[in-house]
Symmetry: C2
Subunit: 470 residues, 2 copies
């Protein structure tokens, strides 16, 4: 494809995306296909000869589109908001079109330096001090793995340079909450700690980690000859957007000399609102922190901001320095390859840069405040209706609800919940995520898609009522 | 930004990229900026109010562009070809514009199923049997980490479900070559093995791992009470594109029951040429394999194809199954979140799908054959000129050269080599990567950018001669 052919085809793609975004509200939110329904329409063998761009676009419309669930739909209330605002999309278009790679600063200096600047913008936007340094990772799962590996290496004085986890005098232990994201347990297992050395600290009635229980567990493990290593606290849990008490947890971590990683993947975006910052009071005392700006804030996926207090430690754990990556500038610059797992690096900073500049901080704040108000409205509507309950405090934009039916409890109630949620999702009208809270299924409505207005939340609520009460 | 504003701005971005690609050959290949030169032109604080799209584009031209090294330049001979062919760029534009996420099959079924199909196309294209299953990872660094974690878990019967690496009766050992990529050592250290348990197997005169030395090392470790766990062999090393003898290494791995990971990040693309496949003879006996189609093949970064023989094992190591990710379809579909580290997933399959369809396999093959011939031409030119040497066999598209000067050896020769390479790169005319081979600096020319023709290689050679011999 020549640049001129790209110009023509690219305009068609831009129009196609513009049309898609303009009409996305008219599409069924959840894909209406059966397993295998897309795959069986595609040929088993790759084409030997070129196909026309028309043929590709035609298959995109005919085969791919019916197989999509639409995350940018204004009635998408599933999982979490994964907004890709259109200015951010254009920043990513520039990155992909340039096709430059950041292996070392020298291999494309602007790629590194714009990332330094925009991760620092984000730090300022969420009100963190200048003792933090940021880098873009792909996801919070990866950030958690990096954090726990860094914790492991700090506790063992860089055992990776010697016998690794295989030759330690004491076994390391990681403390998480039962409401931590699944990726936290996964990170601990991948980092080699082993499930026997991952403690699930009990939570309180609001699903927040109990610092006293944490303290007791640490003491018990020390008595048993183990070496407490790291705590992962969550600012906005996945199931109910609960907030672990960071200040008290940080006090334990400081006293006991444990690494504290704060998972603010979802709720970190809310910290651009000064009125939300009490929710992560104490965060300045953490060692590492992750904010997924590809969620609620609106950066096209993937863009997970990983912030650390001690970048020298991070680089010491992650660095490699083969001759073919050395350059004369190395002593004066950041080489982000030593801040994470992959060597290759996209120019992801552009999509954050475009978003913040095109929106401005004030508009981002206004959108998030709209969503907070919509969540409060929904919670009030649910609480006001007979047989409906809000199951967890609505501190942000997620509302956990259940519809009770006289005479139904236990598994029968679970079946009722799952049935009405499945009908809701299958209808294509809206999309929610069922999840388990306190051992029973409930339905989460995660509010915050870019174009979700009050009317959409009202429509969700009306439909929930009609599906559950029918 | 509304869809209509996006339409207008998007057309401008497409034109901007089309113009960039059309004129990239006229730009200096290596950025001509000093450290900090980009950063200090950007404001320290994010904007509170929106800025115009003109202002953003203006800064892109004025601040970012001079700070780029141009990987799509026809005289880019650095590191490795990182081609982003324009049809692949458009596939990525669709992905970013759609803004859909693959957390589970249900969260966007086509995202999963197109990935199943195109990773299988790639498997067929490189001539692998249907016993392999593929998934897209970001980079070969991540793929290596996943491979070594899977090896660790197979050797220990899933120690992650118990005490991890911290409670094993025997210490695990990983075998790599001194010419393995730096990311392999890094992966072993991140996975917790420890540097004391990473063996660098000696190589032969052509920089290929010696299977007999491997066998001896394994036997010695067993005598010492250690547990040999994994071998990483490389198909096309970074420094000299050497090929470890996979068949013999696989025989050792099979006999000794070690995991065999084959790093074909760079050279895997060459296996779309049947005449190159003898170079990885025996690969069918490996356990895992990585081919970075974002390198020479031409998919916009990032798109690293990780292929495994036992996907059930991979899923058992990587899986998480919290309630909020469970769906009714789970027993009938692939959930790629359990095939790697991140939970979130872009629709990266589209950029591979677009590329293969727009190009067709035959055109991809023709381009790679052009590059192989150009490398042979350069090697012959170097060998024919007095005082110039080709330092390693040219089996693919990388040529390692040194210019000798009468009376210069040791560090003085190193200084000469680094000086002329630095002059070459600073000139902006072309870009090469100096590296160390057998303890001495030399210059690598990695041929294979999409628009590199014979004339560009001739121009490179003429400029090398004039800079080194001046």
């Amino acid at each position: 494809m020549t640049p001129e052919e790209f110009r023509t085809a690219g305009h068609r793609i831009v129009d196609w995306i513009a049309d898609y975004r303009a009409r996305v509200a008219t599409l069924p939110v959840m894909a209406q296909v059966e397993p295998g329904g897309v795959r069986r329409q595609l040929p088993v063998d790759p084409p030997i000869d070129p196909e026309s761009f028309d043929a590709i676009l035609n298959d995109l419309d005919r085969i791919v589109m019916p197989g999509l669930s639409h995350w940018q739909h204004p009635r998408f209330f599933g999982y979490f908001p994964s907004n890709g605002l259109l200015s951010s999309v254009l920043g990513d278009y520039v990155s992909t079109g340039l096709g430059v790679l950041g292996l070392a600063w020298q291999s494309s200096p602007a790629l590194t330096e714009v990332e330094e600047v925009v991760t620092d913008w984000l730090r300022r936007m969420v009100g963190l001090s200048d003792t933090w340094s940021g880098v873009i990772q792909d996801t919070a799962s990866t950030s958690a793995l990096i954090a726990l590996i860094c914790a492991r290496e700090r506790s063992t004085d860089y055992s990776l340079a010697r016998g690794g986890l295989q030759s330690l005098p004491q076994r390391l232990v990681v403390y998480v909450s039962a409401h931590s994201h699944s990726s936290i347990d996964k990170a601990a297992l991948l980092a080699g700690f082993g499930r026997d050395h991952v403690r699930h600290v009990p939570h309180d009635a609001e699903y927040a980690l109990r610092p006293e229980a944490l303290q007791e567990m640490i003491e018990r493990d020390r008595r048993d000859g183990l070496l407490p290593c790291a705590i992962v606290a969550t600012t906005g849990t996945t199931t109910s957007t609960a907030f672990d008490p960071i200040e008290k947890i940080a006090a334990v971590a400081g006293r006991e000399k444990l690494w504290l990683h704060v998972d603010a993947a979802m709720a970190g975006s809310a910290m651009i609102l000064p009125e939300c910052r009490p929710l992560w009071q104490g965060v300045e005392r953490a060692d590492s922190l992750v904010v997924n700006v590809h969620k609620w804030l609106g950066v096209a996926f993937d863009c997970s901001i990983y912030l650390v207090r001690d970048p020298v430690h991070l680089v010491r754990v992650m660095s490699t320095n083969p001759s073919y990556l050395q350059t004369a500038a190395d002593t004066q610059v950041k080489n982000y390859r030593d801040w994470g797992i992959p060597l290759g690096r996209r120019f992801r900073a552009l999509k954050l840069w475009f978003l913040i500049r095109e929106q401005g901080v004030a508009a981002l704040q206004a959108r998030l405040r709209r969503d907070l108000a919509n969540a409060q409205w929904l919670a009030a509507a649910v609480a006001a209706r007979q047989n409906w309950r809000v199951l967890a405090p609505v501190k942000l934009q997620t509302v956990c609800v259940r519809h009770d039916v006289a005479g139904l409890d236990g598994e029968a109630l679970d079946r009722h919940t799952q049935d009405w949620a499945a009908r809701l999702n299958r209808s294509g009208f809206t999309y929610v995520t069922p999840a388990v809270l306190d051992g029973r299924w409930m339905v989460r409505a995660s509010i915050g898609a870019e174009h979700t207005e009050r009317a959409d939340v009202e429509a969700l609520w009306n439909r929930m009522v009609s599906e559950a009460e029918r």
